[in-house]
Each structure stands twice: as C-alpha cells, then as structure tokens.
Amino acid sequence: MSERMLKFVDLAPKMPDKRPPQTRVKDFREVFEVFEVNRAAAQATRCSQCGIPFCQVHCPLHNNIPDWLKLTAEGRMEEAYELAAATNNMPEVCGRICPQDRLCEGNCVIERGFGTVTIGSIENYIVETAFANGWVRAPQPSIDRPETVGIVGAGPAGLAAAEQLRRKGYGVDVYDRYDRVGGLLIYGIPNFKLEKYTVERRAALLREGGVRFHLGVEIGRDVTLAELRDRHDAILIATGVYQARALTAPGTGLGNVFPAMTYLTASNRKGLGDSVPAFDDGRLNAAGKRVVVIGGGDTAMDCVRTAVRQGAASVKCLYRRDRVNMPGSMREVTHAEEEGVEFVWLSAPEALLGNGAVSAVRARRIRLGVPDGAGRQVPEAVPESSFTVDADLVVLALGFDPEDMSTMLGTSAIDLTHRGTIQANFTTLATSLDDVFAAGDIIRGASLVVWAIRDGREASESIHTYLRAQTAAGGRAEAGGVRS
C-alpha cells in the first residue's frame, strides 16, 4: 500500500483551515479547525516513509509518526489512534500545543524542498476522530496489583504517569493544590491553544479508570512527603515550576504589573466560568488597556494573545533578542502578529515607570554580539538608546524557577540541584530517596508539555521496575504485613 504514500512530490502541504484573525480575536476558541477527513488523509500521504524518520528521532516521545501517517492515509483511523496512543498519553494535547516547527515538523526530511508534512494537525485529527468514535478508553488493567503510588501534581507529567501505572494495575492517587486536574494545561495555557474540554476529557477517563484525585491538597501544607511515603509504595513528584522569574529593574512593585501566570490563570478561570474578583474589578482584564508583555517565550506569546482577545487597546511585546533568536515557537509569533501584536525586538526593559500604577516601560536597544558557547549571540545594550513605551498593564513573562522544594517537601533528604530542581537519575528518574521519583519541569526546569509526558511515562516504568523488584525481594510487601 505504500504507493499511496510519498505524495510530497505532487501535493503541497496544507494546514487545517485557520480562522481569520479578525474573527478569532473575538473569542477564545482554537485557531485551527480540526482537519476534515479527506484532507487529513491526503496530507498524510505526503509522508516520505523515511528509513530514518527524523520526525520521530526529534520527538521527545519518539512517536511512531510515519506509521500513523500511513494508517491515516489508508483511512485506518482506529489503528492510527492505537499507534499514536501507544507512545503518548495525550496526543490531542501534543497535536495542539507542541512547537512542531522545532520538533517533528522542523526535522521532516521533505521540509526543506517541499514543506513539512503537517504532523501535528494530523495527530490532532487522529485523536479527535478516536474520541468521536468512542475508541478512547479508560485504563482497564487486566490485573489489580496491591501496591499504590502517590503522585504529586496533576499536570501532564503526573497524568501520564498516572495512566501508565494504572494500566499496569497499580492503585494511583494524584494530589494537586489546585481545584482542577491538569496543572498548567488547565490554568497556564489559554483556550485558543488548548480548549479546556480536552483536559477535562482526559481527567474524566482517568477517574473512570480508577485513578483517585485529591484536589486542593498542597504538599508541605496539607500533607507531608513523609505521610505520603507512608501511605504509598512509591511516590512521584511532578509539581512543575511555578516561581516566576523576577525582573531586576526599578518599578516592578508598581500597580498593574503582574507575573504571567497570575494573568493567564485569571483569564483561564474566567473561561471556565469561575468568579475571579481581580479580573472582574478590571485589574487583570486588559480590555481597553495598552498592554506590554516582557519576554519572548511561549508564555509571553500566550499573554499577548490573551490580551488581544480581552480587547486591549494595544499589545506590545518587548524582547531583548530578535525574531530569529527568540525561544518561542515561530508559529506562535506569526499568529500573534496576525492578531495585531506589535513586537519590539532587541529591547530590554530598564525600568517600569509610573505613579502607583504603571504607565510606561523604559527600555534600551540591544545588539547581538558574538555567539556564546551554546551558539547563541549574547545581547549587549546599545549605549544611549533608551526609549519608552506607554503601558497600562505590564505582564512579566521571563520564565519560571522552582519553588522552595526543601521547604515544600519538608526534608533535606531529597537532593536538589543548584537551580533548585530535584536531582533525579538521568535514566530512572529516581531521586535520592529509594521510593521517590520525580518527573517533568521539577527536574528539568520549565520545559515543554511533551517532555513532561515523556518523563511521566519513563518514571512509571521505573516505578514499575522498582516495585517489581521490591515484591520479588519481599521487601515492601512483607513490611506492609508487619505494619498491619
């Protein structure tokens, strides 16, 4: 059937229909429609079925992309879903929010001459088709094991691990300080990238499969790690990193200056129908305001585009490098520009100005110097180049650091890195405590959802191996016996 493939020679790449900027800025719905049947299949035929699929090589989850593209091209959607689901617990999330242009699609072999296969949208199409047809099923373990695992954090890493462990038959308890399941997926990422029903759908399936969620429970506040270790045979810490990196400039204490997560969470909560006083009173609402977002990552993009949708008078993004050198996905930048965001490249904030509330940002021009060891050009300030940008609302999206883990975990027994993340074994994700594992941003620093999922899956394998070894040695099981 492979003659059906390799059509990149004749067929141009095409994304699903993108809603026009004028309409899409009026709501928080996703930018792309889901592919229609024929077009997804047709686009899938463009795959070259490579001997070395660089798309897969560069996918953190090593998704079997060429294989499910082929199945899609052949109209075998259920198998395509099975294959996609075999390596990924939330393919519909990755299909929507992965920076494919830096991962699979960016490494697509035909990308250079012919334009990449539209992998992400096809992945999305596969999963939406599967949901529509009821092929997506809750975990149905064939055996129920006596051991239980406690997972701290209901973000992507925690959820992936929860599903994998549950499939193997373990009892799984997930603890999260928020009132909803999903972590960053629910409160960090705006609807126009990831509509919340996708996350809620997953959460429901996990519940159905027997995963127990304990929401509003914060480790270090409501429960201690020691208690959890006592309760469960193994622990996975997947709390993510939430500490916003601060701007070291005068004026950050002014009113109407917010960290990105505060701003985004408010907007997402509103979208979910919650009452958010700080939004309702206008402080966190960009409507009619001149908004300045500082930073150049994906979070910054989320902020500027949220501001546009809230009806800001103007939205500017200040970033110290240029377009080529920004860490955010190029695709997101393009979307933002289409939606009217103004990028002020090569500019670093010097101070936030204002009386009480912020009124402007003073910044300096930057030029890019010699590349450093990692190959990135080092920004240097251009002397005497200050300028100001008026602002009614400033959002700081400069990145995230871990919270104080030793306090949170109430123990110094877990080794941390100098950056404050948890020190975990590179391959097993085990921490310095035998029965405690860690996954996601809390070990790697702020990173992509897809990496979190991968960590969650790997941690679940390690936990499985660990628990099997324990059982074989009679360790925990017997200890349990003694304890009762």
Binding site: V9, Q49, C50, G51, V57, P66, R76, L83, S142
Partner: protein, 1513 residues
C-alpha cells in the same frame, strides 16, 4: 635444491596449512569446486579403432584453455581419458611375463598407490589381491604403468602416486556383465578395507573388464607424454571419454582428475548436500536382486568427502550396476524439466513423473559424458547450462565435446553437426551399433515399462476433499490474535511491510539501501531463529537461475509419504502424494490432515515453562522421540505444530523442531519413511519457509500469518478482495519467493533443495548446529539452546503479561526509536554532513566517536586494535594522498543515482586519484573528455554486469579497470529490474533502450555459468582493453575463498569482496536481510585461502559494504584488504539521509532519482566527497601511527594486531572470532599483491591480425585478411577492435573496412565487442559467445563451400550468441545454440534455428530465425523485434507470452523489413536455404511470425497491422 625437494616442501606446507586453516581458520575443503571441458569420441558400429583414441587425445589438447595452470606453469588441474581395455595389449603384456592369458576378457584395475610409504603400498597391494581372490577371481599380476614424471609440474610430481595396473582373470568364467558387477563390489570392499587401514593415498581410477582410465594432474597436452601407453598402436577403442579440469585450488590431488569410473562431468551439482543427505536415507532401504548378498557392501554409496562429480558418478555407477542402463540412470539423476513442458509427449511425461517419485534430481550445470560399457552417452542438465556440441562423420564416428572443432575434421565428410540441448541425451549403443538422438532414446525408455499406468497411483494433493468445519483461527478475538502475534514475534512492520504486499499483490516487499542492523547474534533484542540463517547463493562456479523468466524449468512439486527403494522399478514407488507446492494454506492443511487420518501423527512443538532452564531441551528430546516412535509405529506423515501455545506453554522455534526431527530421523535411517510437515506461528516471510524446507520440512503451513490476513480482510484492508483471494496471493508470493531462493543457488527443483541445508549459520552455537543442522557451516559459533530459550521466554511473556494496545512497532527494516539499532544513525548522519560541509575534521571525529559508541552492529565491533610496536609520530605515516588512492566510492550506476550525484562522485574521486565506478548501465562517452575547469567526470572503473547495458567497445576502453559484477551484497544471486518509470530519455540513451520501457538484468551473466567461463570473459575483456585491469566482484559467503582462488587463476587482477550490508537501489526485503555474510568473514577467508594456494600476491583484494570511517578501513587492511570501497557513506556526504525510498524515484535530496524536479534538490558537491575521504584517510593515519605502522601496506593481513574484546551477550554459548584472525603462512611471498601492471593473458590470432593490418591503419586503406583457425584461438577480432576504437572511435571506419576471412572452427567469443569497420567471415563453425557485446561489427558464420550439410539443419554456432550486443550484424547460415541474442540491444541477426531461451531479455535490434526455436522464446523481451519462420506450427508452444505478442506478418513495412534482412543474409552468408525462401516468398511469408514486445506495441513508428484485411490475432 632439486626440483623434487621444493615440490615436496610445497606439498608439506600446503597440507599443514590446509589442515590448520580448515580446523582453526575459515577454509573449508568441502567448498572446493572444479569445472572443465568434457566430451567423447565413439564409433557408431562399436568396432574399436585406433583413431578413436587418437581423436580423444587430440580433443583434449584442444580444450587446454578450459583448464587452468598453477603458478609453476606445469601443474595442471587434471586431465584424463577413458577408453576400452585393449585386451590385446594387456594379454601380450601378460604373455611376456610368462602367463598364458585365458580366452575371456581380462579386467584391468588402474590404481593410484601410496608412493613414499612402502609399508602402506604393500598393505594396499595385499588388500587388492585378497579381495579379488576372495571373490574367486585370479590375478595375472601387477603392471607398473610407464610414466614420464618430467612432464608434470614440481608440485604435482610431489603428490604423484605410484601408478600401477592390476590385471585380473575371469577365472570363474561368468558373463562380462556379472564380472563387471563383481568388480564393482570388489572395488567397494577394497576401498573400505583400505579406509579401515587408515591409508589415504590410495585410489582406484577404474576396475573393469571393459574400460580403463588414464588420468592425472598434468596439462591436457601432456597426457600422452606422461602415459606413453596411449601412444601404443594397439591401444584401440570404440569410445574415448575425455575430460580437462579447472579447479578452484592449486593443490594437485590426483584422484580428483576426471573421468570418473563411468562419468565425466563439466559443471557443478548445486544440490550436492541435499542429494548426499537423501542418498544416505535412500540407502537404508536400498536392496536389489542385482547385488544380492552384497547389497550392504556397497554402502555408503557416496564416500565421505567426494566432490560433486565424484558423488554423481558413484550414484550413477550404482544405478547402472543395479540394472539400469546409462541413459536411464542419466534420466533419473538429471531429468529434463517436464512439469511445465507443453510440447512433451505424454509417455515421456509419465516416465519423468515416475523418475520424480524415486529420486530427487541432481540439479545444476551438468554436461556429462558417460558409459556403462554398452552405451556411450552425452547428456545435459535441464537448463542447458553447459555447452555440448557433436559432429557425425561419414566414416561412422561421433565426436561430442564442450567445443566444436576440438578434433579437426574435413567438412566434406561431416554428415551432421548438432548440439545437446537442455535435458537431452544423445548416445551410441555400441553393441547394437546405432546412434540415438534424444527423442529416440527417450521413446525407447518410455516404452520399457507401463509408466503411464504406474503414475496413476500418485495422489494429487490439491484434489483432496475439503472437510467441513472452521479453520484454526476461527473464533479468535482480536486480543487473542494479538497475543499470539506478539508471542510469535510479529511487529507492525512485519505485518504492514512484509505480509501486506504479499497478500495484496502476491509479491514480496521491495526495499532499498543496505542492511545496517546488527547481526542477529549481536543484538540483545528478540529475533526469530531464521535471522541466524543466511541464504547461500551461486557465484562464478555455477549460475543462479532466473525463476521469473525461466519458470518453465522450475518446480515446487512436493512428494509426501513413504519413499520406496530407489533400486526397484515397479509401480510401488509411485504410491505417494504429490502437492503442487510445499506451502499449505490453513484449508489445505485441514484437508490433508483429514485425508491422511490415522496415517498421520501430530507433534506438539511447545515446551513447558515449569520445566525451567531445561524446558526447551526436554521438549526437543520429546519431540524427536515422538517422531521416531511414530515412524517406527508405521506413521507416514508427521505434523509438527505450535498452535497449542498457551500462557504456560511457549512455542519452540519451529526451525529447531523441524531441524531436530529431520536430523534425528536421518541418523536413525527413518527419514524416507515419512513426510515432515510444519505448522508454524513464527513463519511469515519467504525466508522462514525456505529455512524450514532447507532443514527438511516437507510442507509448511503459516497459520498465524494466514489468520493475520483473515483479520485484515475482516477489517477491509484489501479493498475488493476476499480472504481466499488474499491467502491465494500470499501463497503465490511465498511460492515465487521460494523459487527465487532456490534459484539463487542455481537450483530449479525444490525436492533437491529440501534438507540440503543450503544456509550458512552466522551466530549459532557450533554444538547446536552439529545436533540440529549437521553439515551446515557455522564458523563463529554463537547462541545455543539456553540463550534461545531465554529470549523466546521473554518474548512469550510480553504477549501474555499486560494489556497490549498495538503490536511492537518493529524497526528492523527502517529505523524506529526503541527498535533495532541501525549503523546509519540519524544524529551521526547530520554530524558527518556538517563535518564535510564545513571541512571540519573535529566534527568528523565526533561522528567517528559516535560510531564507536553505538551498540555492536558488525563483527568488527567486537574487535579492537592491539598494538605490537610502540606508536610512531603521525608525521612519519604515509600521506593522506597516498592513502586516498586506495579508496573507491562503490559501484553505483547512473540509473540508480541521478546524473548530478553520479558525476559529482566521479569528479571527486578523480580529484584525489581514487576510483569511482560506473555501475551497471553505461556512461556517457562525453564524460571521458575533461571539462574546461580540469574536472574529469569519467569513472575510472567501468562495470560489466549481467545486463550488459551500455557495454560497448568504447565504454570498455574509457577506463583503467573493468569490474565484473558477479553478485551484489544486497541481493546476491538475483537479477534486477529497472522499472519503466525510471528509464528516462537519458537513461534509455545510455543503455541503448527505449524510454519508459522496463529493463531486466538477469541473475547470472549468461557467459559465466562456470569458472572456465569467467576465465574466458576475463580473457575477452583483456583483449578489448589491452591495458585495463580486471576486477571480479564477489559477495561474502562460506566458500568464497575457493571461488576467489579460481578467480585468481582466471587471471583477475583485483577481487572485490562485498559484505552483506552493501546497498541497492531496489531489492526484495528478504534478500537485503538474509543473503550473504559480513565482509569480515568473506575477506579473511579469501585472504587465508589465496595465501594457502600461493595466489595472494597475484591479486589485489578490495572490500566494501558498510565501511564508514578510518577505523573500518584499518580493520579491513588488517584482515587482508588493500583497497576499500565507501558507497553509502559517500552518498551521505552528498546529502543522503537514508530515506530508503531509492526504489520509489522520490529521493527528496535528489541523489537517487531521475525525476527532474527532485534532482534540483541535490546539494552535493565534489568538495564534500573529497573532505569525507580526506577525513577517513587522516583517521587511518592516526590509527596506523598508534599501531606503530608507517603505511597501510605494511599492516595488510596482520590480524595479530587485532584482538577480540567482546564475546557478545552473556546469553551466547560463545562467539569466537578467532577463525577470522588465523594467519596463513605466505611462504616466500608477501601477503599482498606484487604484480606491476596486470596479469597478462596469452595472445590470440589478433596479434597477427594487428600486425597485418598496420598498413590499413596507417594509410586508411581497405584490407582483406585470411587465416585458418582452430577452437583454441579465442576472441578473434576483439583486440583489433580495441585498436580501431582507440584510433577511430565507434563509427570512424566504414562497415567492412577490414575484412577477415577465417577457415575452420573459431574459438569462443568470436568477434566479441567487434566494432564498425571490422567484418569477420568464418567458413566452418564457431563456438559459444559469438558476437558478445557486438559494437557495430559484422560477423558471418557459414559452412565451408565444400560442405554437403544443409545449413538450416545443422548447428554451427554455440550458446549465448550476441549477448549484450549493441549494434552491428550477424548472419549465421546454420542453427544456433541456447540463448541466441540474449540481451541484444541493437544488433540485427539472421540465424536458421536456435535453442531454448532465444531472444531472452532483448531490448533492441531485430532477429530473424529461419527455423525452429527452442522453448521459452522471447522471455523477458521488452524491446526489439523478432521474426520466426515456423513450418511445423511448434512456435506457439515455445514462446513465452509474458512480455510479447506474436502475429502473422500483417504490415508491408514489417514484411519488407523481414525480407530485407533475409536478403542481406543470402548476400552475406550465401545460404541456399534462405535463397529458396526468397524465391517462394509469397508462400513462405505466411509461415512467419512477428514477435513484438507488449511494451513496444504503442511505441513503434509503424503499426504491426496495417493491411485492410487485418484481423486481430
């Protein structure tokens, strides 16, 4: 030092080294090959004449070029003659010694005795005498045979035995036939007794009252000088069988000379191992009235260590003594292909059908000359793979031989000139005094018994009733199916990529590029046991067969049941069941089981997990015991199945179960009592089927593969096809694949393949192989039962442990994360590309370091350097420039590669003085001219492959080396096909073909069916380019060493050893994966065997297949290679990213495609390639420095600088690379090539012709020359053509500028590559390969004016005429042999009849055949046109309809084209017969068929049917 002493030393050294290398190294004496020239002379009236013996001797002298000479120039590979005993001569001798001979025939034994060990000599004499006396005969005495040792070479002399004759009196006065049979039994007793006395230097050449054999290790022309007996006028005979041998070693073993006792054989029995194994089984129940109480004494019929010819002779002899005539024995052993022959009489078919019931054919190239005392016959194998021509004269003599003209005869006395065609026999009944043609012999044999009635007993397996009820998989849920699939090791890849196309299209999956995954033994991942078996294939010493285009000779017919006594001759032997194929569908399987009922016993091939570590071992013991008990209990059919697999009962690998049972039953002598049927879950692809059948299975049922297909049918994955159709297609694909696998070995009949174990194990424990697959070679040991059980269990657990959402993804064929390791790794490819793009050696070093960190992929990855000397400074090591000269860029054709990529490689390689190779498919002559910027895009090496595309005299002159591609690493033993869509206008121009029309490359070179043929091709090439060196490209497999020795003796200058990892533009996946072995094994074997045979210093060794870095290069050097090919990696340097879609014409980087849009994406340039080779060379320098070496030359063959640093996974029994590291003693010669220039070949008539045409060259005048010729003058006109093309180009001279008239019998390759301007006119006859590669010349072959022969009834040219001809004309006033105009791409020719496979693979030109054609005419013909004159209406049963249509002449244009050629024929060849046709043209024209390729019909300038009356044919 005296001659003898050196000889003795050499012999002692050889014996010592051979013994050491065969025990510890890679040399295996069983792989020796021999081939040759053969024939006989006989009187039709049976009256002995002196002239017969003289003619035999003369004939032998005229085939010297078919033999080979050792380095000393005197030691031949052997020659001999078999004649009647001149009773007179011996009786006079007896009388002189004082005895009075009795009246009856005395018998003479010609015996080789130990020469130096006098005690042994006496023991032997005593044994001979006492056995003769014990039988009641008496002895006249011994006669020391006079010999002249001065005429043999020193080495041969050193091994020369004491040669004596024992003369025996028929004192019992029994009839001659009984006397003869008694002598046979006596000889077998003697042989046994001598063997029991542990004397090896004893051999009975002949012991007979009819005939005596004189043979030895000398050159053919020395026969009479060595044995002056033969010059005695009293030596008269009514027949003389003669033989000249060419062997693949240099060690003179006297007993290997031929003729053997009854038969002389030219060719090679490909199925030897199977035949020998089956013979051991047949022997058990062999009983015959003829031998009476002595039946046991003749066993084993085949002595251990016999060559193929000797084994064939032994069985032939046994059949004859048991009462079958020589013609019938030939028919039983080497039958004609009959099952697909439509033109065969029913009675013959019944006879063959009967023969098929009694014995497996001995398959392979075979021209035999044999006698049973009454008959002298000559016979041919079913494919007609050897030449055999005969002449009958008016004085009652018959001459048969490998070449025409071996005995010069006056044409005026010739009555008939013919040839022995495929499967044919001709012979003389000396008693009756009559010559028999093929048809006459077979009519007589077929009438001897009611075979037609007997074969009615055969039950046809395909007619069995279908029992009611569901198939095995009915009711399996998707989950159950999935669990079984996982347990059996299925992956998504297997199902989607391998199984799907088989069931959808009936064909195997195609892939491209090489296999870069680890050998099964090196990976830690689960691999089915079949991965450890590598298919063997033919190269050089015998040809692979084209199972697609020549399927008429192929057969999968499978006998089931209890096989009878091979010596009986009655209807009981036909009580068997016959299946069309060994592949059983689930429904066939059920029918068969139901039909056989209680005759069959089922054996469960699962084991019990509870039995722990010994589980598999215990189960295998049980399985063998159950099989034995069942057979002893009378069961005639065993069914071995793993369908009862369950959580606690994992399946054992079916291959182990079948191999174990087969070996056990053979050992117990029970194998022929039963059929052995396998039902296997693991079995999916063709390779698994082949392994099972090769290990002894009668039938195979792949039930899980079929269940998988059924499941996919239910899921509607085969649009428009139901399950039956899909299963039928799957089975068709397997059938086709099996034919491909056996045809690779040159085998056409599966029954001869069954149990032959034609595989080489790579990575199976020696002990395991010894027990389950005895006789199969396994040279490095590897995994044993414990490891197999461990991995099988792990796989089994995966299936039943947890919820499975999808099958494992695979990753064996294409890289998948988490799947198998691939040597070409994504990130490393990017590193390399960035290194060559930025000219950064430091990035290259990161790449090279990364390679070293991959898990082991190749055998060399288990080795490391072991310096024996202090390191030297880098500056002292030879320069990059020097090292780079040893590199090549592989042999990739323009056709596989885009023009841009191909030229870039050539330019880069030329810049650094290294070699690029044209590949198969021609090269634009424009590239031979340097470009304005100084770049040279000409490939220094030009390849000549089986398709001969674009191989012209000019092409062969635009190079310094010619590479003969015998095989290709990715698909050894197979041909290829360039689909029409890849044949662009440009490709078509270079290949002399038509745009858009498919081009087929045959599996064999049709002028290399045997080692002496290769020698001939090398000779031809050295004539057409008088300065170029010749390279022969082989693929590594067990036995390649002896082949290489033969190749070296054929005067090759370079031998290229390709590893299994070599790339391809398109091959079946199972070929890429499972054929050939790593070059490490091939190279070291070749190096050892060449060194052993003192041939190493005559040739350079080159190696390729997956070489990626400097480390690989130095490893190769240490293992014995002087030059190194880097193919795929040089593509990577130009931008290749291993997309592996070369076969799809969609290469996204423009390297491997002809699509103009894609070619624009090409981003390679010569600089990148130069950088790659410079980096590799620099790395080589670093390694050399660390080894303390200053040049590559000084480390060649120094395996002591290597050491095994890993013995593989702990699960293995052992992994022992020491056989690779054994060094052969090079004696006085260095272990590398010392030849300056090339190995020269003797001159032919052309030397004289060039001398005589010098004026014509200088003055430009027309010339006519005339000479007498003999068959020893070969390739006439070829070197002259080289002169012409170099001075005037391909078309610089007008046709006929130089006319050469030749009288007599021209040798092989007459007019090979002859160019325009040369006209050769032969009055007489010519041999094989006339007009090979004809490049514009004109050749005429016609009888002498004095000849009384009717031209259209006699054969005057040999086989494979016009092979690869490009342009020019050939007119033959007579018939041609097999494969006339094969692969012709542009020449016009007229011939008056031809043998089988005429116009095969033709792509251009026009051929007129004015007489009958043989079978399979126009097979694979995709271009050109043929006209055939058909008077008896036989044409339509002979034509192969797959590629052509045929119709009566129906257009003025085409009729006049045909007639015009016949007019030319008359004008040139003066054929009276053709002139007659023209006279009656209006009548004769209606008897012509016009044959046109289907693909050409719509591309013709003139339509086929233009007349108003035209009706559709």
């Amino acid at each position: 030092m005296s001659r003898g002493a050196t000889g003795l030393e050499t012999v002692a050294r050889w014996r010592r080294e051979a013994a050491r290398l065969s025990s510890f190294g890679l040399y295996d004496p069983r792989t020796e090959h021999a081939s040759c020239g053969v024939g006989f002379v006989a009187t039709i009236d049976g009256v002995p004449r002196r002239s017969v013996v003289e003619a035999g001797i003369d004939a032998l002298k005229a085939v010297w070029h078919r033999g080979a000479v050792d380095a000393d120039g005197q030691t031949g590979d052997g020659a001999g003659i078999h004649v009647q005993i001149p009773q007179d001569f011996f009786k006079k001798h007896i009388a002189r010694t004082g005895h009075e001979p009795t009246a009856g025939r005395l018998a003479v034994g010609m015996i080789f005795l130990p020469k130096t060990d006098l005690v042994a000599l006496e023991t032997c004499r005593g044994i001979v005498e006492s056995e003769i006396l014990r039988f009641g005969y008496s002895i006249y005495g011994w006669r020391q045979v006079p010999v002249d040792p001065s005429v043999v070479g020193e080495v041969a002399n050193a091994t020369r035995p004491e040669i004596e004759q024992v003369m025996i009196d028929n004192r019992r006065g029994v009839a001659d036939a009984d006397f003869e049979r008694d002598l046979y039994v006596i000889r077998r007793r003697i042989e046994r007794a001598v063997q029991e006395a542990h004397i090896s230097e004893f051999y009975v050449c002949s012991l007979s009252c009819n005939s005596v054999i004189y043979k030895g290790m000398f050159l053919a022309e020395q026969l009479t000088a060595f044995y002056p007996d033969l010059l005695d006028e009293r030596f008269v005979s009514n027949f003389a069988i003669f033989h000249q041998r060419y062997s693949t070693n240099t060690f003179p073993t006297w007993r290997l000379a031929q003729p053997f006792r009854m038969l002389a054989h030219n060719g090679e029995i490909n199925t030897l191992s199977g035949n020998v194994n089956w013979m051991m089984s047949h022997e058990i129940r062999m009983a015959s009235d003829a031998f009476g109480p002595h039946a046991e004494e003749i066993k084993p019929v085949i002595s251990a260590g016999s060559s193929d010819s000797a084994a064939l002779d032994a069985v032939f002899e046994m059949l004859v003594h048991a009462g079958r005539s020589a013609p019938l024995a030939k028919l039983v052993l080497i039958p004609e292909s009959w099952s697909n022959q439509t033109a065969m009489p029913e009675s013959h078919r019944a006879l063959y059908s009967y023969c098929n019931c009694i014995m497996e054919p001995w398959d392979g190239p075979a021209a035999v000359a044999a006698t049973d005392g009454r008959w002298v016959i000559a016979g041919m194998d079913r494919n007609g793979l050897r030449p055999l021509r005969y002449t009958i004269t008016d004085d009652g003599m018959v001459f048969v031989g490998s070449e025409a003209g071996m005995v010069p005869l006056a044409e005026a006395h010739v009555l008939k000139k013919g040839r022995v065609g495929p499967g044919e026999i001709i012979g003389v009944d000396l008693r009756q005094g009559r010559f028999y043609h093929d048809r006459e012999i077979k009519d007589e044999l077929a009438a001897a018994h009611p075979y037609g009635e007997w074969v009615q007993n055969i039950k046809m397996g395909n007619d069995l009733p279908r029992p009611p009820g569901p198939d095995v998989d009915a009711g399996w849920s998707r989950e159950t199916l999935r669990a079984r699939q996982v347990a059996a090791g299925f992956t998504t890849e297997d199902v989607e990529m391998i199984l799907q196309p088989m069931a959808a299209n009936g064909s195997e999956a195609i892939g491209s590029m090489g296999d870069d995954t680890p050998l099964a033994v090196l990976t830690s991942r689960y691999r089915g046991l079949h991965h450890f078996f590598r298919q063997k294939f033919s190269q050089v010493t015998n040809p692979p067969i084209d199972s697609l285009r020549e399927k008429r000779v192929m057969s999968l017919k499978t006998r089931l049941g209890n096989l009878g006594n091979v010596l009986d001759e009655d209807s009981s032997q036909t009580e068997i069941m016959l299946l069309e194929s060994p592949v059983l569908t689930n429904s066939d399987y059920r029918s068969l089981r139901a039909w056989l009922g209680a005759d069959a016993v089922e054996i469960d091939a699962t084991f019990d997990r509870a039995d722990g570590e010994a589980g598999l071992r215990l189960a295998l013991n049980r399985v063998c015991a159950e099989a034995e008990n069942a057979v002893r209990g009378g069961c005639a059919h065993l069914f071995v199945t793993d369908e009862h697999v369950a959580v606690e009962r994992p399946a054992m690998p079916t291959i182990l179960a079948i191999g174990g049972i087969h070996a056990h039953l053979v050992r117990e002598g029970l194998r022929t009592y039963t059929s052995l049927n396998a039902r296997s879950a693991e079995c999916v692809d063709v390779h698994y089927f082949a392994v099972l059948i090769g290990m002894g299975a009668s039938t195979v049922n792949a039930y899980l593969a079929e269940a998988t297909i059924a499941d996919r049918v239910r899921r509607r994955l085969f649009p428009g096809k139901n399950a039956e159709a899909c299963v039928a297609d799957y089975r068709a694909a397997v059938d086709r694949g099996l034919l491909k696998v056996i045809s690779k070995m040159g085998i056409s009949v599966i029954s001869s393949y069954r149990g032959g174990r034609m595989f080489e194990a790579v990575g199976l424990s020696r002990a395991l192989v010894g027990e389950f697959f005895p006789g199969m070679s396994s040279r490095i040991s590897g995994i044993g039962l414990p490891g197999i059980q461990k991995r099988a269990l792990a796989q089994h657990e995966m299936a039943f442990a947890e919820e499975i959402t999808a099958l494992p993804i695979g990753g064996l064929y294409r890289f998948r994360a988490g799947g198998e390791t691939h040597g070409f790794d994504g990130p490393l490819i990017h590193l390399l590309q960035s290194a060559v793009g930025r000219d950064s050696y430091s990035i290259y070093k990161r790449y090279s370091k990364g390679l070293g960190e991959l898990p082991p992929v190749h055998l060399r990855d288990l080795l490391d350097f072991e310096p024996k000397a202090p390191a030297v400074a880098l500056e002292e090591v030879e320069s990059i420039t020097g090292i780079r000269r040893r590199f090549g860029s592989g042999s990739m054709s323009h056709g596989a590669l885009s023009k841009e990529a191909h030229e870039t490689l050539a330019i880069a390689m030329n810049r650094i003085g290294a070699a690029s190779c044209s590949g198969e498919g021609g090269e634009d002559p424009e590239r031979a001219k340097p470009r304005p910027n100084g770049d040279n895009a000409n490939s220094r090496v030009k390849q000549i492959a089986s398709g001969r595309f674009g191989v012209t005299a000019e092409y062969l002159n635009n190079c310094t080396e010619i590479e003969i591609k015998i095989a290709q690493g990715a698909k050894p033993g197979e041909g290829g096909q360039l689909p029409g869509f890849k044949v662009s206008a440009e490709i078509a121009r270079l290949r002399y073909a038509t745009e858009g029309v498919t081009l087929i490359s045959p599996p064999p070179h049709h002028d290399i069916y045997s080692i002496e043929d290769l020698a001939q091709l090398i000779y031809d090439l050295k004539q057409i380019n008088p300065s170029a060196q010749v390279c022969v490209k082989l693929v590594a497999e067990a036995g390649i060493g002896t082949i290489a020795a033969g190749v070296a003796k054929a005067k090759a200058d370079v031998i290229l050893i390709s590893g299994h990892a070599g790339g391809t533009g398109a091959s079946p996946q199972s070929s890429i994966k499972y054929a050939g072995v790593p070059w490490e094994m091939g190279l070291t074997e070749v190096h050892q065997v060449l060194t052993l045979n003192r041939l190493r210093h005559h040739v350079r060794l080159r190696v390729d297949g997956g070489i990626k870095c400097g480390r690989d290069v130095v490893m190769a050097a240490l293992m014995g290679a002087e030059e190194y090919g880097v193919g795929t990696t040089s593509l990577v340097a130009m931008g290749c990213i291993l997309v592996r879609q070369c076969h799809s014409n969609t290469c996204p980087v423009g390297i491997c495609t002809q699509d103009a849009a894609l070619r624009e994406k090409f981003e390679g340039n010569p600089e990148k390639v130069v950088n790659l080779f410079s980096f590799i060379a620099e790395e080589v320098r670093e390694v050399l420095a660390s080894l303390g070496a200053r040049s590559l030359q000084e480390v060649i063959g120094c395996t002591d600088l290597l050491m095994q640093v890993s013995r593989g996974s702990p699960e293995l029994d052992d992994l022992d690379l020491n056989p690779l590291l054994v060094q052969a003693d090079p004696g006085p010669h260095p272990p590398y090539c010392t030849v300056e220039g090339r190995n020269e070949v003797p001159e032919t008539l052309d030397a004289q012709m060039i001398e005589d045409t010098r004026e014509a060259f200088d003055s430009g005048e027309k010339m006519q020359l005339a000479y007498n010729v003999r068959n020893t003058e070969r390739a006439i006109g070829t070197k002259l053509s080289s002169e012409i093309v170099q001075r005037f180009g391909m078309s610089g001279l007008q046709p006929g500028h130089i006319t050469v008239r030749l009288r007599g019998s021209a040798g092989q390759s007459l007019g090979a590559f002859a160019v325009q301007g040369l006209r050769l006119e032969v009055f007489g006859e010519a041999n094989d390969y006339v007009a090979k590669g004809l490049s514009g010349g004109t050749i005429i072959v016609r009888p002498m004016p004095s000849s009384p022969l009717k031209s259209n009834e006699n054969v005057i040219v040999g086989n494979t005429v016009l092979y690869g001809a490009v342009s020019g004309a050939l007119f033959v006033a007579g018939q041609g042999g097999e494969r006339f105009a094969v692969r012709n791409s542009g020449a016009v020719a007229v011939v008056e009849g031809c043998g089988t496979n005429g116009c095969e693979y033709m792509t251009g030109g026009t051929v007129v055949v004015l007489g009958p054609v043989g079978d399979n005419f126009a097979a694979g013909m995709t271009g050109g046109m043929a006209f055939v004159y058909d008077t008896d209406g036989s044409f339509e049963s002979h034509v192969n309809d797959e590629h052509v249509l045929w119709q009566r002449l129906d257009s003025d244009h085409w009729e006049s084209a045909c007639r015009g050629l016949i007019q030319d024929h008359v004008a040139n060849a003066q054929s009276a017969f053709a002139a007659q046709l023209l006279v009656h043209w209006d009548i004769e024209a209606t008897k012509f068929w016009q044959v046109c390729p289907l693909e050409m019909v719509h591309r013709l300038d003139y339509t086929l049917s233009s007349r108003a009356t035209a009706a559709t044919a």
